[in-house]
Symmetry: C2
Amino acid sequence: MPEPPRFSKGLDDIVVGRSTISWVGGETGDLVYRGFDVRDIVPGVPYESVVHLLLFGEPPSADPSPEVVREVAARRAVPPSVERVVDALPAGLPPLEALRTILSSLGTGAYGYPPTREEGFDLIARTPVLLARYVRRSRGLAPVAPRTDLGHAANYLWMMTGADPDPRRVAAVEGYLALLADHGMNASTFALCIAISTQSDLVSAATAALGTLKGPVHGGAPSRVSDMLDAIGSADRAEAWIRERLARKQVLYGFGHRAYKTDDPRGLVLHRIAREVAEPARLALAEAVERVALEALRREKPGARLFTNVEYYSAVVLEGVGLPRELFTPTFAVARTAGWTAHALEQAADNRLIRPDVEYVGPPKGRTWPRSLPGH
Amino acid sequence: MPEPPRFSKGLDDIVVGRSTISWVGGETGDLVYRGFDVRDIVPGVPYESVVHLLLFGEPPSADPSPEVVREVAARRAVPPSVERVVDALPAGLPPLEALRTILSSLGTGAYGYPPTREEGFDLIARTPVLLARYVRRSRGLAPVAPRTDLGHAANYLWMMTGADPDPRRVAAVEGYLALLADHGMNASTFALCIAISTQSDLVSAATAALGTLKGPVHGGAPSRVSDMLDAIGSADRAEAWIRERLARKQVLYGFGHRAYKTDDPRGLVLHRIAREVAEPARLALAEAVERVALEALRREKPGARLFTNVEYYSAVVLEGVGLPRELFTPTFAVARTAGWTAHALEQAADNRLIRPDVEYVGPPKGRTWPRSLPGH
């Protein structure tokens, strides 16, 4: 017998499917990719091997995954027709909007339904390449051609800067990408799954995901952590700044998460990575602000269980590797293309249109239009 | 006490919110916009007045809505920077992918959170304008400038053809747009709501909706009805063709809907509109195929309650007004920008992040990476 309809505005208490990709343990502070705790494999496992794990279900035969290295490197060269789209975009477009626009333009009919792993490699390979091309162009710089001898993280930094990247920075980006590669049924992944559920294609679904990632409640806020640290300026001003902010009922960026009611495991690893690449004074400021913020939140919102989230040390790490703030969320997208691909494949393998209901509470049926209508 | 989690893969039995916009009565065959049965107002009420009803909640003071006419006509002129994006797209991009790409490029930072009605007018006004510009360019034709003296439907046909449109065709497009303007919490609207739930902006959310609309299970299939009618060719071949198709367990396009377990009210009105604009032989073929298909479906799938859906006579109407098949789904999008805007405003007015859960059924936590890791 069918169950009665259930009302759930945020879908917190609704399980939309079964997944073997990742497990978010909100109470215990766990993030597990196909059985591997992210804290056990990051730093250390190259991003290409994490992609392999997510897309094939098992670790590769060697690190970095030979299959993924080959597939992704081979797909870095993009057709001139795509480069023309990149170069025609208004230079003032924010990089995340530009990236979404460029990825959308890849839908030339070559991507179909069901999505394939090969299409996923395309998406994963091209996202950083096209983003870097756009960013350089919008700054008036000549494009830097991709290199096939570099790993995913190193090539990203190379294409942004045109210089051989510092190995510590490469390692930090590698760790960041691995930690952000997937996260259960988050909002952008869910939007992607809805698109796939209509039998749309991977590129279309990825644009749906990117349109969703932009919101500050999901992926659009790490740059606000940097803005907040700037506004505070020095550790001795943290207490007063945070007190005033909370008194005005304003949010502190980088704290609280829908899923985690304890430390976000990604945040703990990113904090360690930040120690390797952040400017020491900036790291000290971030640590002091974090300490004061957590004390204040516990005092002012007892029982709310607000902890440092992934965005806080994401911002410190991405600052530390030299990326400007408007690239924080686009770099999150670079990482998440792996998880999006894995979820698109999983959704298509056991597909059903995702179409919820709403309760209509408007005027009852039977109103009459106030004027006589032609044709009636 | 919180209820236990509920498993629902397609969310059929989940109510994600309360809405005053439209009611889909699946058992009774109703579609109601803010209390008005669509069969009572279409044909007759101009599209601008339907937009007014959806966006303001009440009918306008006169038809067509003076406010919407003014707002939409004023926003038809697009900045040269947007025209440059349109003109840089590869000519082979399918129009729906082109439209999504162009709308995505509008996100210059001017659209924010919460979405506004004015941003909605922008979206509604620009969608047909930019689509028409792209379509003409991809055929090697000069662009046709928008006119402010024409209504929404008439200007769309004018910009596509460069000729004063036939009033019967304008009326048919007007009716089509009004009927397709909203439809409860369908998949593309839901994807849009998820994007808004992260506090993303209207343009980003509309690209999410467009990526979702593409799938043939949602908005991407009306052209397949035309292809099916072509393949059948003549009424006397319908029986054999349909029999063979069903024997191969293949789908008949234009029949069956997740919500409706009776005639789709939009289909009934579109059938009447088709009589005004369709080529008589084509209409006769469509009617004969419909009759045979419904008989066959009742015989072969008793109890399945499959009826003619909105796509069937959508295809006949859109063919009849002279639109090529690759414009069927984009024209659906032209109509639906009104409903998308209404739902974005409603979602933002009482917002909460939409983030469901999944049940993790992968390998348990605790696996060890097969090789020793650097940095560990």
